[in-house]
């Protein structure tokens, strides 16, 4: 995998924060910055946005030439990115489907999926862990703590 230097990392992040700063500073103008005598709701977003933009430029200039130490690969193993991405996608999917499918079933599939596919475990272990997690979480959160979690179209 390609190795990058710390300066390259810092340049990327400086550009990101420069955009953030610029966005806030511009946005602040639409909600009234006010004056020093009477600061408005845009006062802090404007000045803080400007400050972060200036600091980002400083960070960018500092790293424009220097290479800095070489950093290890972004992902420690060749398939790390798959695990990271899959886990994030599983979280997003959980948020999308759990009011439709219900808390217990979504939990069962979510836990089962991660146990089976991130660091693959046997099917027997996966099913036991997923089922216990779904049942215990259902009893703990809905029955015991009375949390208002969606039960979905199947009713649990």
């Amino acid at each position: 995998m390609m190795e990058r230097t710390q300066s390259q990392y810092d340049r990327f992040s400086a550009i990101f924060f420069l955009i953030i700063g610029g966005f806030f500073a511009l946005y602040a103008r639409s909600v009234e910055i006010g004056t020093w005598n009477e600061p408005g709701p845009g006062f802090l977003p404007f000045w803080a946005g400007l400050t972060i933009a200036i600091m980002s430029i400083a960070l960018l200039l500092k790293n424009i030439r220097g290479k800095g130490p070489v950093r290890p690969s972004f992902f420690p193993e060749s398939d790390s990115w798959k695990r990271v991405l899959t886990t994030f996608l599983a979280l997003i999917l959980y948020n999308f489907i759990f009011d439709f499918l219900g808390f217990a079933w979504t939990t069962f599939f979510f836990v089962g999926f991660l146990v089976k596919f991130i660091f693959p475990q046997s099917w027997a272990r996966t099913l036991v862990v997923a089922a216990s997690a779904a049942i215990i979480a259902r009893l703990l959160f809905i029955n015991f703590l009375e949390t208002q979690l969606p039960k979905g179209f199947l009713g649990f």
């Binding site: 005598n37 803080a48 972060i52 980002s56 979280l91 959160f141």
Partner: protein
């Protein structure tokens, strides 16, 4: 006499079945998250906060603070038995604790850590009782300029301690301030960057942000590659230190306790700094400094006492000024507000039962921890053996449910995932989370103080220099920001940075 009546009041509050139960649950959960890698006290407190909505405020605070100091106890267990610190504050305990375990003295190391934590916890509770009330009286004189400059100093101290570039830490702090401006402006009522979402009009929720930055991001970093751990399999026995062990460890415990308490008052990752400082002091005072790292009992007793005492000290800025010293305390501040209590100098006089009840609970909680950690050590070792591939989906599940149950909002869950992505990437790019979180929490308070100060002074920023207390805070902040450019201070800062690297604050 006054102190005695306050202590009695605290005991009265504490010794009710519900408060005793929640105190126990708090320290139990604290030990559990301390033992488990990948879930720190910050995420655990954020997770359990929604479950405290239906109990009285004092009960909630008793439980949540139990998690904080309980985690310090639990953290030492993993350091000693697995050579993996459950908490950053226990990193230094690995050096001698794990060596002791390898020499068959795991029991004594765990025992000394637990007794040391108890003794130091007691020292810090006494310190808290003595220091907080007078400090709160002093803070009554604070107006908006003093508050603004004090909060500024708090953030600057965190930035100063950031492990890495000051510029990058500053960027994170200002980014936190910017995120803190999202929501309805409390002075004019204007909606700022809410995109018509009701969930954002109260600002970005602290819990989704923290769960994302610390819970989700931490888990995602850990799934990059499998962590293999080896737990010392031998049966753990002889938990009670013998007379010689006591002789060797008693003074390190006392020194660690006092040091930890005072470092705890300062903003920043106090448990880590105090643990490292205590180790350095013990090594310096020892007749055999060369033996440190080979299983010296002082190397366990001092740091473990110091990190526990630091948690007590960290409550002082919260109880007296209403300002969080680190992100754990920041969530407690959020808990106060959710329960309708405004922390600040008036807190102790306005809600004496809350302050003294919590103090007494810390005392009892430390005793409970002693009972939990020594005889039940076998259970914690079993918990340690739960493989991470099974553990991490459960941690994520808790994060999802914890955030959703706050307001039953999917927008907040999405926010948590978003903060998870940001936190994961920010770690990769070597940015610190602590300045961001602290700035996010105190941002709205800072903004109000700044604007009120400018209104009072009719637009003159000189007000921060004309008020003596505010001027001192501004001066300290400036000095800290400039100091890394002075060579010999810069070097000392580097040493400090190395100590606090990786700390969850």
């Amino acid at each position: 006499m006054d102190l005695l009546s306050h202590i009695l009041l605290g005991a009265q509050v504490l010794f009710t079945p519900i408060n005793l139960f929640f105190c126990f649950i708090g320290v139990l959960m604290g030990t559990l998250v301390g033992v488990l890698p990948g879930l720190g006290p910050t995420a655990a407190i954020a997770l359990l906060l929604p479950n405290t909505f239906h109990v009285p405020p004092v009960t909630a605070i008793i439980m949540l603070s139990g998690i904080y100091y309980g985690a310090m106890y639990g953290g030492s267990t993993t350091s000693i038995l697995v050579n993996i610190p459950g908490e950053a504050a226990s990193v230094i305990t690995c050096l001698d604790g794990y060596q002791m375990a390898q020499k068959g003295r795991a029991g004594v190391a765990l025992g000394v850590a637990a007794f040391g934590s108890f003794i130091a916890g007691t020292i810090s509770v006494i310190g808290l009782m003595l220091v907080a009330p007078p400090l709160a009286k002093f803070a009554l004189a604070f107006g908006p300029p003093e508050y603004f400059s004090l909060m500024l100093m708090g953030i600057v101290i965190l930035i100063y301690l950031a492990s890495g570039s000051i510029l990058k830490a500053l960027v994170m702090a200002v980014f936190g301030l910017l995120l803190g401006t999202i929501g309805m402006d409390s002075i004019s009522g204007t909606q700022r960057l809410t995109f018509g979402l009701l969930e954002l009009s109260d600002g970005i929720g602290l819990i989704p942000a923290i769960m994302g930055l610390f819970g989700v991001a931490e888990v995602i970093s850990n799934v990059e590659k499998e962590i293999k751990r080896e737990v010392i399999a031998a049966k753990i026995k002889n938990l009670l230190p013998n007379l010689q062990d006591w002789k060797d460890s008693f003074w390190p415990m006392i020194r660690g306790g006092i040091l930890g308490f005072f470092i705890g008052i300062l903003p920043g990752p106090a448990p880590v700094i105090s643990a490292f400082s205590s180790y350095a002091i013990e090594k310096r005072l020892s007749k055999h400094p060369e033996k440190f790292g080979t299983g010296m009992i002082q190397g366990v007793a001092g740091p473990e006492s110091a990190n526990n005492a630091a948690t007590g000290g960290a409550f002082i800025p919260l109880f007296t000024l209403g300002i969080p010293a680190n992100s754990v305390i920041a969530i407690l501040l959020g808990a106060f507000m959710i329960h309708g209590i405004q922390p600040g100098p008036m807190l102790i006089s306005k809600y004496p039962e809350l302050f003294w009840g919590t103090i007494m609970s810390m005392y009892l909680g430390n005793a409970m921890l002693l009972v939990l950690n020594l005889p039940l050590i076998g259970i914690w070792v079993k918990v340690l053996k739960v493989p991470y591939p099974i553990l991490f989906p459960l941690i994520l599940l808790f994060c999802l449910v914890g955030v959703f149950s706050l307001n039953y909002s999917k927008v907040e869950v999405a926010l948590m995932i978003g903060f998870g992505v940001f936190g994961y990437l920010a770690r990769k790019f070597q940015y610190e989370m602590a300045p961001l979180v602290l700035a996010l929490v105190i941002g709205p308070m800072m903004e109000n103080s700044l604007r009120l100060s400018l209104v009072i002074s009719q637009g003159s920023p000189m007000i921060f220099l004309e008020k003596p207390i505010a001027a001192v805070f501004i001066f300290v902040s400036l000095a800290l920001l400039i100091s890394p450019f002075i060579p010999w201070i810069g070097r000392r800062r580097k040493t400090l940075q190395e100590k606090v690297e990786g700390e969850e604050i």
